[in-house]
């Protein structure tokens, strides 16, 4: 028998998207999570354009109106806030800044962290040492102090908030990338590339980065949740995003005094944070399995049983 005959039958040519969707459908929790996230992204994209006026129309005498009362229109179905603005509209509008801060932070931190991590992992010992010490410094720099410094010097705004949070998150990506690079560069295919004469840049970009990327993406999804909570905590301490900007984290922090009297002020944005982070976590768990050839059967095996 020839080894050709034992070749695993090739999958149909147009793979990639369709099987991924099918695998997503197998994991019902991940599927729901994906839908939830798409809805939130839609909120973020369209919400401010459609609902911005509604979300800022105050009514001091109609403040803290309770939820599930349609008398004042659909926008008040989740109640009104402490200035009589409709919670639902505000939540939808706030999705944009919330996502902007979280996504901006994660992307910025990941980009900077990954580049530094690749350099630290691949270049010589001295570069590596220097970068790692830098990471140590950032790690032990209290994030609250970074927040106060940046916001004092540059003023509170969404881009500055992203800057603050991104700085504090860089070491996570840096350390992970470096550790992975140190492992991956020992792999045979990297050595094979060296033998062929590939340059450092080519090895980093073509051979190491693609292998490291899935890990980074997984961390990024988890970090997304962390950043939303961190942003919320900074708002709670009074050194985060400030009105008139509006994020879910800020809404939770602002609803804090009303926890005993008007629970819905802090509850809905808190719930949205939990739902978003939960969805991201579930989706990232799914992704970890779906992207790992040795684990993927868990999602595919069920398909043979289902059919």
């Amino acid at each position: 028998m020839s080894d050709l005959s034992t070749a695993i039958p090739p999958a149909p040519a147009k793979r990639r998207a369709a099987p991924l969707l099918a695998m997503l459908w197998r994991d019902k929790l991940a599927f729901v999570s994906a839908i939830v996230l798409i809805v939130i992204v839609l909120f973020a994209l369209l919400g401010p354009a459609l609902l911005s006026d509604l979300a800022t129309s105050q009514n001091l005498r109609g403040r803290n109106s309770p939820p599930f009362d349609l008398a004042r229109g659909w926008a008040f179905v989740l109640g009104g806030d402490s200035l009589g603005r409709p919670m639902l509209a505000r939540l939808i509008v706030a999705a944009r800044s919330t996502m902007l801060v979280a996504a901006g932070t994660v992307l910025a931190a990941m980009a900077v962290g990954a580049v530094l991590g690749l350099l630290a992992g691949y270049l010589g010992k001295h570069v590596s040492q220097a970068i790692m010490r830098l990471a140590d410094v950032i790690m032990s720099f209290p994030s609250l102090l970074i927040a106060v410094i940046v916001l004092y010097v540059l003023g509170p705004s969404i881009p500055n908030m992203i800057l603050v949070l991104a700085i504090t998150r860089i070491p996570i990506y840096l350390r992970t990338t470096r550790a992975e690079v140190l492992e991956v560069r020992q792999r045979m295919f990297v050595q094979a590339a060296v033998v062929m004469g590939a340059s450092n840049g080519r090895i980093i970009l073509r051979h190491i980065l693609p292998v490291v990327a899935p890990t980074l993406v997984t961390i990024a999804t988890l970090d997304f949740a962390f950043v939303m909570l961190a942003e919320s905590s900074l708002s709670f301490l009074g050194i985060g995003i400030q009105p008139p900007d509006i994020t879910w984290g800020l809404m939770v922090a602002q609803g804090r005094p009303y926890l005993t009297t008007a629970w819905w002020l802090a509850f809905w944005p808190g719930l949205l944070i939990v739902i978003t982070t939960l969805s991201l976590n579930l989706l990232s768990n799914w992704m970890r399995v779906a992207l790992d050839p040795s684990q993927r059967w868990r999602l595919e095996a069920r398909s043979t049983k289902d059919e």
Binding site: M1, S2, D3, L4, T6, A7, I8, P9, P10, A11, A13, R187, M188, F189, Q191, A192, A193, V194, V195, M196, G197, A198, S199, R202, R206, H207, P210, V211, P293, R296, W297, E300, A301, T304, K305
Partner: protein
């Protein structure tokens, strides 16, 4: 119902995998009694280990699923028993040892504890277990048992670890011992020792031994009966001599036919121009000497084999020449220029001329690149062949040259079998039209039938394209078939060198002699004779 102590009857097991359900074994039956040795022979993917795993209740369910069949032990169907009942049999009545003792021993516990646990898990008191552990270590030949019990697996050599596994498996004097490829990862001389130990122990305890292996030599050395498996089914079974001398099934015939070490021995043509000359290469890692004063010459069209056991420095030699490692001293002249002192830009030019094929194609091919990308990467690096159509044509040619077809170009490494992957690696090496290919254990991980094909392919390339080979291997049979010159290395030094013919027929160094003596012949009669000879000498 038969009288066999252990009988597997009509067992069928499915695996649910990424690409649908795989019938791992179909309708497999075998049996064994005390005192017998049964070999289950098969190549990778033949399902030879599955029935043993089913006996031990260590199949992962899912993805595995037992579709049909029974396993009788002392007339009781194991598959109908509770987990607790089977647990009580495991280790005590039927024990098992595995291929890779380093990963099958728990890395974080002392070996003494692990051996004693075999006994405490079955209700023996700790004090008794400790005492017996010392006995066992003594019996399997571990030096200084009192010291050894407190050591961890990584502090032992490969052969010692397998001895430890054996000690553990035999702690409760089981009736059956299942050995799954027990010597595959070991050097030949150590393999011989371990097999001898197994045989002695079997003689002492009278246990039945089920030996799962891919190696005809091991079967010839130790087994009474053999079951040959292919693609999940038993294709042939019978006494070892009958099966070897008169194989009935086509698969068995092919398997026996592809065993290495039988071909025509090549001779080096004289007066070939010198291509590579290494002079006095040295390399140490801390206190460990990997290379000591190693020199060699390689001519155009020559195929030079470097033979040695693990730790002999043979791979370091290749890596030092390729500058994957920095040699401490010495020089390596490529067409008269010292590779080790070359500037990066000059080196880039030479890299095109020397290519390497690694041991494990699963790891040496970037899993995220398609075959087309893998093969054409060298052209990107060296800025060759900018024309896309030309590239596609050349990739097709190369794939066909190594026995693959053009439509494989768009696929990814994980979609191929091990042998096919090694072909891709060879095609990648050929793409840059090198003058020298360094093969570092390039066929060691492959099944024999595929090994033979790859060797034939390399041979063909050498003849047609005049490529030189530096062939690093531990398998003497393969070396005998492929090389015209052989260098034998031990502990970083070259102990013997010469034409293949001379090394195999009249080895001068005692180490070379030991190596050759320890190599197992697939013919049971030859092995039987050697055993007689050895006993006579002793």
């Amino acid at each position: 119902m038969s009288n066999a102590l252990l009988e597997v009857r009509n067992l069928s097991v499915d695996f649910h995998t990424a690409r649908g359900t795989v019938h791992a074994v179909r309708d497999v039956s075998w049996s064994i009694n005390r005192g017998e040795t049964l070999a289950v022979l098969g190549e990778s993917g033949s399902g030879k280990s599955v029935s043993a795993s089913a006996v031990m209740n260590i199949l992962d369910i899912p993805p595995a699923q037992i579709i049909a069949g029974e396993i009788y032990f002392e007339g009781q169907n194991l598959l109908a028993m509770s987990n607790e009942q089977r647990r009580a049999i495991n280790g005590k009545r039927i024990a098992m040892i595995f291929q890779d003792p380093l990963s099958h021993l728990n890395p974080v516990y002392p070996v003494g504890w692990q051996i004693a646990e075999m006994m405490t898990a079955h209700g023996r008191p700790m004090s008794e277990a400790r005492a017996r552990t010392l006995d066992l270590l003594n019996r399997v030949g571990i030096p200084e048992p009192h010291n050894a019990v407190g050591k961890y697996p990584h502090q032992f050599s490969g052969g010692q670890r397998q001895r430890l596994m054996i000690a553990m498996a035999l702690a409760l004097k089981p009736d059956i011992l299942i050995a799954d490829e027990p010597t595959t990862a070991l050097d030949v001389t150590i393999q011989a020792d371990v097999l001898a130990l197994l045989k002695q122990l079997q003689a002492e305890t009278g246990m039945g031994l089920v030996l799962i292996t891919h190696d005809l030599g091991v079967v010839a050395e130790i087994a009474d009966r053999v079951v040959v498996m292919s693609q999940g089914q038993i294709v042939e079974q019978g006494s070892v001599r009958d099966v070897y001398h008169a194989p009935q099934h086509a698969y068995t015939q092919k398997l026996i036919g592809s065993a290495p070490g039988k071909g025509q021995i090549k001779t080096l043509e004289p007066d070939l121009p010198l291509l590579l000359e290494a002079k006095a290469l040295c390399k140490t890692y801390g206190r460990f000497t990997a290379l000591k004063d190693v020199s060699l010459t390689l001519a155009r069209g020559q195929s030079l084999a470097v033979v040695g056991e693990s730790g002999s420095g043979k791979s370091t030699l290749a890596r030092a020449i390729l500058r994957l490692e920095t040699a401490d001293s010495g020089a390596a002249f490529w067409k008269g220029q010292d590779l080790l002192a070359m500037s990066p830009s000059a080196l880039l030019g030479v890299r095109r001329q020397i290519q390497m094929v690694f041991q494990d194609p699963t790891q040496s091919l970037n899993p995220r690149m398609s075959v087309y990308q893998l093969i054409s990467e060298g052209w990107d690096i060296h800025r060759l062949m900018p024309d896309r159509n030309q590239r596609q044509m050349r990739v097709r040619e190369l794939l066909e040259q190594v026995g693959l077809s053009a439509e494989h170009a768009s696929r990814y490494p994980h979609q191929f079998s091990g042998g096919q992957r090694q072909r891709i690696a060879i095609a990648r090496a050929l793409a840059l039209e090198p003058e020298l290919i360094i093969c570092d254990e390039a066929v060691s991980a492959l099944d024999v039938s595929i090994q033979a094909q790859v060797i034939a392919l390399l041979d063909d390339l050498r003849e047609r394209l005049g490529i030189s080979f530096l062939f690093i291997a531990h398998d003497l049979g393969v070396v005998r078939d492929f090389a015209d010159t052989v260098i034998v290395m031990k502990a970083g030094e070259i102990v013997e060198r010469g034409p293949t013919e001379q090394i195999f027929s009249a080895p001068s160094h005692p180490y070379t002699q030991r190596l050759l003596a320890a190599a197992l012949d697939p013919d049971p009669d030859v092995q039987a004779q050697r055993r007689l000879l050895a006993t006579a000498q002793a």
